[in-house]
Subunit: 149 residues, 2 copies
DNA sequence: CTAATTGCAAATAGTTTGCATGAGC
DNA sequence: GCTCATGCAAACTATTTGCAATTAG
């Protein structure tokens, strides 16, 4: 596992350092979660790591550049990162509690291709975000509570 | 025209003030453009307006709340706003020539609603961008030329 | 050994807020 | 007249950067 990660970093032209390996492993252990730099920093603190916040930012940016992570800008003012998925997926975000679901829908994917062709464009990529509000207010609030503790 | 805008503000429960009317008109005069708060402030400065930056932020936020404007978070760290389009549409962008087509597809819209429901979220909005390359190279280049002149 | 990396603190960018003054209704 | 709105400066949040010390290759 760690061998794999060392290869990954080398391929990205990055030196093998403890902060980079630690943060990479952290993101891999939270595959479908979205973490801000601050989130990552807090987890590191809990693990009694002495990696500084500035390094977290630097490493996350490098990983984004290297396509190891994907950066999202869901909520206005801060970026969140997730491990780059091997399979493409889109996102549904609750505007109230910030909960994020991931989904992938063949029907939509297919239709996108058709539409692109109609406009004479060969589709290369897309970004789709659905924004809404949890219908179940209890679930919605539960998650807010989780965030606060 | 200004009558219309006064109605718009009243409907949003906002008092009719000069900063709000000015900023509203400004956004209407730049229908498909995306402005950050700073952009708006700079334009106001050029017009020798004495509206403060804090007011620009407050007004843009109020207009966003009132659905007069739409807020986007394309680029990581700042929000940009555009006049809310009367009809929803999505975008196809050619990565080579920058040409943008607007489209709206009922099948995709419908499917998005279904997916959201599956995840227990009431869909409020979405953003969909298709990125690709013009299949017809001539068209693609023509437009580049057009843009450059 | 040399250049890249790190931690810390200071700097910056974008945005929000407290407060006294001024304007809408 | 009473409340809401504004301008200014100060506060805040997310992020970046300068620099000296440290480490990977």
């Amino acid at each position: 596992m760690s061998e794999e990660n060392i290869k990954l970093l080398k391929k990205a032209g990055l030196k093998i350092t403890e902060p980079r390996l630690t943060i990479l492993a952290l993101m891999q252990n939270h595959k479908n979660e979205h973490f801000s730099a601050e989130d990552v920093y807090k987890i590191l603190l809990e693990q009694h790591s002495d990696i500084g916040l500035a390094t977290v930012y630097r490493v996350l940016n490098q990983f984004d550049e290297a396509n190891i992570l994907i950066r999202h800008n869901f909520e206005g003012n801060k970026s969140v990162f997730e491990l780059a998925p091997t399979e493409h997926h889109d996102h549904i975000i609750c505007e109230d509690c910030g909960k994020v679901f991931e989904f992938s829908d063949n029907l939509i994917e297919q239709r996108q291709k058709e539409i692109s062709e109609q406009y004479g464009i060969k589709l290369k990529a897309h970004s789709l975000y659905l924004y809404g509000k949890c219908s179940d207010i209890e679930t919605c609030e539960e998650i807010v509570k989780k965030d606060e503790k």
